[in-house]
Symmetry: C2
Subunit: 283 residues, 2 copies
């Protein structure tokens, strides 16, 4: 596994998330991951994604100079996501795309041979991002189901936050995928669900969770994660931050499965987290 270089927009990297867990005190070990630390760990900027895209499609993309190709790709992809999420991929014409992205029709076809290829290129980056992040959970979590579940929810929310338009695109256009792509999407979706189910099963086995129907519960958690990017504008309007959403979902789920683990691991608890004093404890 290679370490990703971090060309962060702002100045220096805000110090990665204390890489060595064996380090200091236990409280430090489970230091809460933030959206910022996620962004420091992975680079899902448009530029980074388009660079990976170029590498993956060197054979199809006819432009030679990498920095030109990446620059054009960025315009194309950015515009595609915007237009497609507004009116649907099929309703978006390549002429619209050309005009909005400032390229000519011919130039577009330097980057893909078919409109459908463009769709698949985008989908490919989405599923690659999913397996890159959710695919390799930190080993130290394997024996703490509650932490593992929390890590899953958190990672999912943070990932879909950085790549929100991408995920909306994949979600909305899924049914129009040309078979191959649709299966890929379904598989990826089910794999997320089974990761959740795994963590739940583990928790039940250790007597930490109390769940009637494992499969059903995992099914119910999935839409909560999807809602974050599908209805992103609603949450933005209400001023909900990614961290707040993670906490709300964790709490909601944690209570529902009657999670009896270390309260500070799953329940809201963390007082330093609070941005609003909010006594909130109704008695």
């Amino acid at each position: 596994m290679k370490r990703t270089k971090i060309p962060q927009t702002a100045d220096g990297p805000p110090v990665g998330p204390a890489p060595c867990d064996k380090g200091a005190t236990p409280e430090r070990r489970s230091q809460r991951r933030t959206f910022k630390s996620f962004q420091a760990e992975f680079d899902f900027s448009l530029k980074a994604i388009c660079t990976r895209m170029l590498e993956r499609h060197r054979d199809t993309i006819r432009t030679q100079k990498p920095h030109v190709a990446v620059a054009r790709l960025m315009r194309i992809i950015q515009t595609t996501l915007t237009l497609a999420n507004r009116k649907g991929f099929h309703s978006m014409s390549l002429r619209d795309l050309a005009t909005e992205s400032g390229l000519s029709m011919g130039a577009l076809y330097t980057y893909f041979d078919t409109k459908e290829t463009l769709l698949m290129m985008i989908l490919g980056e989405v599923s690659s991002a999913v397996s890159q992040t959710l695919g390799s959970p930190p080993v130290h979590l394997t024996d703490d189901p509650a932490e593992r579940l929390h890590w899953l929810l958190e990672t999912h929310v943070y990932l879909t936050e950085v790549m929100q338009p991408w995920f909306v695109f994949a979600y909305m256009e899924a049914k129009a995928f040309p078979k191959e792509g649709r299966e890929k999407a379904t598989k990826s979706e089910l794999s997320t669900e089974s990761m959740i189910a795994d963590a739940l099963a583990d928790g039940v086995e250790r007597g930490l969770f109390s769940i009637d129907d494992l499969e059903m519960t995992a099914s119910l958690i999935k839409p909560l994660l999807q809602d974050w990017y599908v209805k992103r504008s609603k949450y933005r309007r209400r001023g909900v931050s990614p961290e707040q959403y993670v906490q709300a979902v964790t709490e909601f789920v944690g209570t529902a499965i009657r999670c009896r683990s270390d309260p500070k691991a799953v329940k809201s608890g963390r007082s330093n987290q609070r941005s609003e004093p909010a006594a909130a404890e109704s008695s």
Copy 2:
């Protein structure tokens, strides 16, 4: 934390001296509603909906004889829902629709003047169905938040079960609605959410629920309801009945909001539920 006032559409004053606290036979009163009893109460068969559709569009539909018009409409709508849910409304051509429904191009235009009108007609029936069912909760529920919440979840699931393709259609094509329609959809969505928030607020006030963030919790319940029709095929494959889903969601939510009300109202508990002769699965 701010208190959200809930501008309800048209609702009786919830405050009051709980008049019919104890009705006739308690068992009868809170007799569990089933999918079957819902179907008996409302007629959302294709025929019934198309009949209403015809009445609502007498001016646009040129066919005179009602029974012919309804029959044709049924074919048109049925086919539209099938095709649109498979490849998207915009990707479905009217030629496809004509062929599949067994009508000619010209005949189609006897029922709508524009492809967009067809879309709006379908959307209209969906939102009409929502307000017809969710809009008028039984009065005897106004003073039992847990029952009211349960009634909302139940009604929503049953409604979207009978009209599943309609709701998928509305959900998936929502972003392509021509403004007017999109606003209608958004409003309807928010109204459902505020009905939920209403019940939650009521429960918190009476000390029955324990909820940190009302608005957020209501937001989290909504996707659970949507998952039922959006991912219907998944649940069908797993053999989950509408009743089972209602129970799973109720239980999940009930625990999450630490509902302390009468257990039989919200918690699963009742194992004899399972012994019931299981609702008949319609085609």
